[in-house]
Amino acid sequence: MTSETGFDTGLYDRFPTRGPRPAGELEKLEDAWCGPKGWQWISAINNNFIGVYYLGAAMLFFVLAGALALLMRTQLALPMNGVLPQETYNQLFTMHGTMMMFLFAVPAVEALGVLLLPQMLGARDLPFPRLSAYAFWAYLIGGLAFFGSLFFGLAPDGGWFMYPPLTGATYSPGINADFWLLGIGFIEISAIAGAIEIIVGVLRTRAPGMTIDKLPIFAWAMLIFAGMIVIASPSVILATLLLELERAFGWPFFDPLKGGDPLLWQHLFWFFGHPEVYIIFLPAAGAMSTIIPAIARTELVGYRLVVLAMLATGFISFGVWAHHMFTVGMPRMSVNVFSAASMAVSVPAGVQVFAWIATLAAGRMRFNTPGLFAVGGLVIFVVGGLSGVMVAMVPFDWQAHDTYFIVAHLHYVLIGGMVFPLFAAIYYWTPLVSARPLSERMGRWIFWLMFAGMHLTFLPMHLTGLMGMPRRVYTYLPDRGWELPNLLSTAGAYLFGIAVLLWGIDMARNFRPFRRKNAGNIYDGPGLEWLPNDLYSVRSIPVVTSLYPLWDQKGLSRDVATGRYFLPDNPTGGRETLVTSPMNAEPQFLLRMPKPSGWHVWAAVFTAAFFLLLTVQAYAAAALFGMLAVYTMFHWCWLLDRPMTQPRVDIGAGILAPSYAAGPASHGWWAMAITLVVAGMVVLLAGFSYVFLWSSRPELWKPPPDDALIAILGLYAVAALLAWLAVRLLTHDGPRSPVVSTLSMVLSVAALNAAGGLDVAGWLGAGLDPQASSQYAAVTALLAWQGLFLATAALMGLYIGLRLAFRYVLARQPATFEVVALFLAFSAGQGAFVAVLPRLFPGI
């Protein structure tokens, strides 16, 4: 295999090293990675802590949202039952769906990734530990506030899909809908932060030798998962922004009276909402593909087919969003294409299911709790997949859509595809983080109760749907024959509830996290996560030569634990991990990582407070906390890229590696690039929305300003050029380099803002009034989005200037400049798009 980075892979032969390790090495490592004590646990940034917190919070929301479901089932047990008033029921079903999707399913699988990936990949931690801690705290605070809205009657009640105009200011005048819009927008930011972490983690922090074809299947799944979040969630962020703008300021994106279109929301929502299902399913499927081989003690049959199936799912799931809209009266050609794509997306699911069956056949299944949950999940998922094929048939969907048939379908898919695999994962991986494994005996009870409860709840719902019962009804009339299936469903729901209760008891009795010693590899799993580990993850980072290293590489555990591989110590004295190349995992540089501190926690608290105060319309306080949030983040960034002294360090066996990287080699540059992909998706979808709104009412559109488009584009080009020049000037390393290049960067920021200002001035001259029409609303939204970037650019200019004043701008450390330049160049490109699209389309 040709080298990706110029690293000589022959050097791998130096491992495992021989001879004793120097004394005090291990103590130094333990010292650097020691866990927080007492109240400092809040400041923990190690994935061993954050992963457990994260998963714990997700399970808390699972239990809470499940309790809401039990209340709803109680109400529906009998016709015209009076347990819950109508308003409460409408809030409950909205909260149940929203919490299960946004506060349980996505965070739970993301937490699983945060918890397991470093260990699986042989990294000491994820590359941005504070970012994952920030994501967790933001999610926990935001989620609890969101759930708390129920107790004040302020919970949203427009359904988890929040279709306008029902959720617009006219028909939902309270702040309930704002809770949803701001809360979900906020929680998506946290999901994106986690996704960035996971992408960079999987691509750049793998153990040396773990080439892309030896990437554990779970890591593949998490990589695709994170990529999908990056592409999909901008859509819901944009949608919530637009609806909130319409609610707060009357910008008519969805109001048909002023040229808006309610269907725009549906397109944006489902462009996120359908991939969301696979976002939830893929990591769980990855866990299944990890657990089933381990339980059957054999390799996964068709590893490559499964990888391709997951990739294909990731792609095709973006082409099926409109199958949630078969009944809105779309043109037939669109309907047909979406129907075909919906059928296509079921093929990869079939590949995975049969790969699992083949693996079970190739090995010998052990009927322990993880195994039971895995096989049970498989069966349930197949039923859900089959009803999915049914509703992909458009004429059948016309009947089944928005009935209990769909409720049955989606719960089969999500419970079989995600909840059962998650429970399998919890039972399988608990010994990794807990001093005691969970109880096998109780596990079996829990499995069978859950399996029976699941079918008893949802199997009758297929029939209830065919009998004509629509979804989202707080009650139903007697005499329709719906009593019996509903009563059965309620009984099943309670059975499921008992299973979850038993699981809670099992957790309380046996879960003992954060101990120095864990229960170990009791299921004989083959992955690196089962190497002896501690808070610093593995003692030394192994060279991986197999997809199943613990099965195939004899003596690996012993050699790793005695420090005979990469990075047996911490050469810079702090927390570090190895950054490797994305395809072949060749060592590139040593990444120094931060120690615990409170800034990211405060940043999370202030961001949450900002959004919460915005929701309750305390604008002055919101502005204050917004500024505090910006300040804490600013301070957090201030700790990055400090001058350092050891340019090259020994990463084991005398192999020297740089301890610094800038540009595309560095992890920070990747994080910025991914963030910009998110931003790019938002603006791309905003462009789509703009064109969509035009197509719905072209006759209402007014001509754009005929003005200085050339000047705007010229200024943006200058800005991009100056940003590029700043990096070149710095790395040129002349005596005045820091000053000149900082100046160039600041000028670039100025040019950006000038261009933006010119753009806005042109539109204002043409009478831009965002409340007047959907055209003006869309243009204003585009300009405002660009304005957000220009303001951030200004902050970055300030940041660079301050760094110059503190003499942090060094020619041999251009990482910050590279990142800022990337951002400025993107902003210039985005500005050009924002200037050009509304001026040249729909026509000059």
């Binding site: 109508q86 308003e87 409408n90 009640d157 427009g158 279709y163 105009p165 029902l166 028909y171 009276l257 279109d261 309610p262 049959v301 087919l305 009944t327 809105v328 009266g329 047909n336 129907s339 059928m343 079921s346 093929v347 079939g350 590949v351 299911v353 049969f354 790969a355 069956i357 083949a358 079970l360 056949a361 190739a362 299944m365 069966v379 197949v382 039923v383 089959l386 094929v389 049914m390 992909a392 048939m393 004429p395 059948f396 969907d397 016309w398 009947q399 859509h401 928005d402 009935t403 065919l466 009998m467 004509g468 979804r471 989202r472 707080y474 139903y476 009339l477 024959g481 719906w482 719905s696």
Partner: protein, 314 residues
């Protein structure tokens, strides 16, 4: 057959079609159930064999060949067939309406249905609410609109559902092969008492349809009565229209022929003096959240007179 009899659940309406726009979908449903049962059986048998089968079977199953056959080849063949079937049917069922078909404009409102019968030129001949009368054995075109939020009209025994979206007009065709009463309801969550937003479709015998049409087209001819006075004095006319009288409100359903309707409160109650009086006095107890305020101020005598007046509006 009474209106409420049409609401009974068995056989499931989706599997008990009564017209050519629903029948083929039922056939699809049965085909899909058969497909699902076969595939599920295959998966279960394969899983059982993989778990418990003799070594020889498991050796045959435990390779990539199974993944290719079961996970790729088999689904591709089955799904190709299904797709073509579905596409053909979609085309047949969504054929554009022919000229001369009866047109009815149904507007979804929170939480009832405004039903306008269109004449040959597309103008509204007369208005009714919460029930749709159609001639039998002839395709009918429903123009679906929404006045406030998104609703969805679903008459399971006659056709699939189609959404009513503010600012748009969707076309739903349906046909009843037999005279009868068909239950329908709103299928898209529209807030508040969405659960109680039903309606009935009444398919007549041909001659009965013409008679019904003639009667509905006429304005009301109520005799002067105490009920009419109460109706006027209580301000009912601010929201409701009774053609032929001074009442011309547009916010609520047209009451010109309310006495002839089968149900009250958008498909939830039988319609007679008793329920009319109950509805007027306290509709919030019967359909919480609906837009009609309760009228507890009417005296017993006035309430009874009003109910009698409304029932007489046949």
């Amino acid at each position: 057959m009474s209106a409420l009899d049409a609401l009974r659940g068995w056989p499931p309406p989706v599997l008990d079609p009564a017209g050519p726009f629903a029948g083929p979908v039922t056939t699809v449903a049965w085909v899909l159930f058969a497909m699902g049962a076969v595939v599920l059986a295959i998966v279960l048998v394969a899983t059982a064999a993989a778990l418990f089968g003799p070594r020889r079977w498991r050796a045959r199953l435990g390779g990539e060949r199974l993944v290719w056959l079961g996970g790729f080849a088999f689904p591709v063949v089955v799904l190709t067939g299904l797709l073509i079937y579905g596409l053909t049917l979609t085309r047949d069922l969504s054929a554009p309406p022919a000229p001369g078909e009866v047109r009815v404009r149904v507007t979804g409102e929170m939480w009832w249905w405004r039903v306008g019968y269109l004449d040959a030129r597309g103008g509204e001949a007369f208005q009714d609410a919460n029930q749709i009368h159609i001639p039998p054995r002839a395709p009918v075109v429903l123009e679906l609109e929404a006045a406030d939020v998104i609703h969805s009209l679903w008459i399971p025994r006659l056709a699939g559902k189609l959404d009513m979206i503010p600012g748009r007009r969707n076309i739903l065709r349906l046909q009843a092969d037999r005279p009868g009463v068909y239950a329908a309801q709103c299928a898209e969550f529209c807030g508040g008492p969405h659960a109680l937003m039903g309606l009935v479709v009444v398919a007549h015998e041909p001659r009965a349809y013409a008679a019904w049409q003639a009667r509905q087209g006429r304005p009301a001819t109520p005799l002067p009565s105490r009920g009419a006075e109460v109706f006027a004095a209580a301000g009912c006319g601010a929201c409701h229209t009774v053609r032929g009288t001074a009442a011309n409100g547009l916010a609520g359903p047209d009451l010109t022929h309310i006495g002839s309707r089968r149900t009250l409160g958008a498909g939830i109650l039988p319609n007679h003096q008793g329920t009319l009086a109950a509805w007027v006095a306290d509709s919030q107890a019967l359909k919480p959240g609906n837009r009609m305020p309760a009228y507890p101020v009417l005296s017993g005598r006035d309430l009874r007179a009003l109910a009698a007046y409304l029932e007489a509006l046949k």
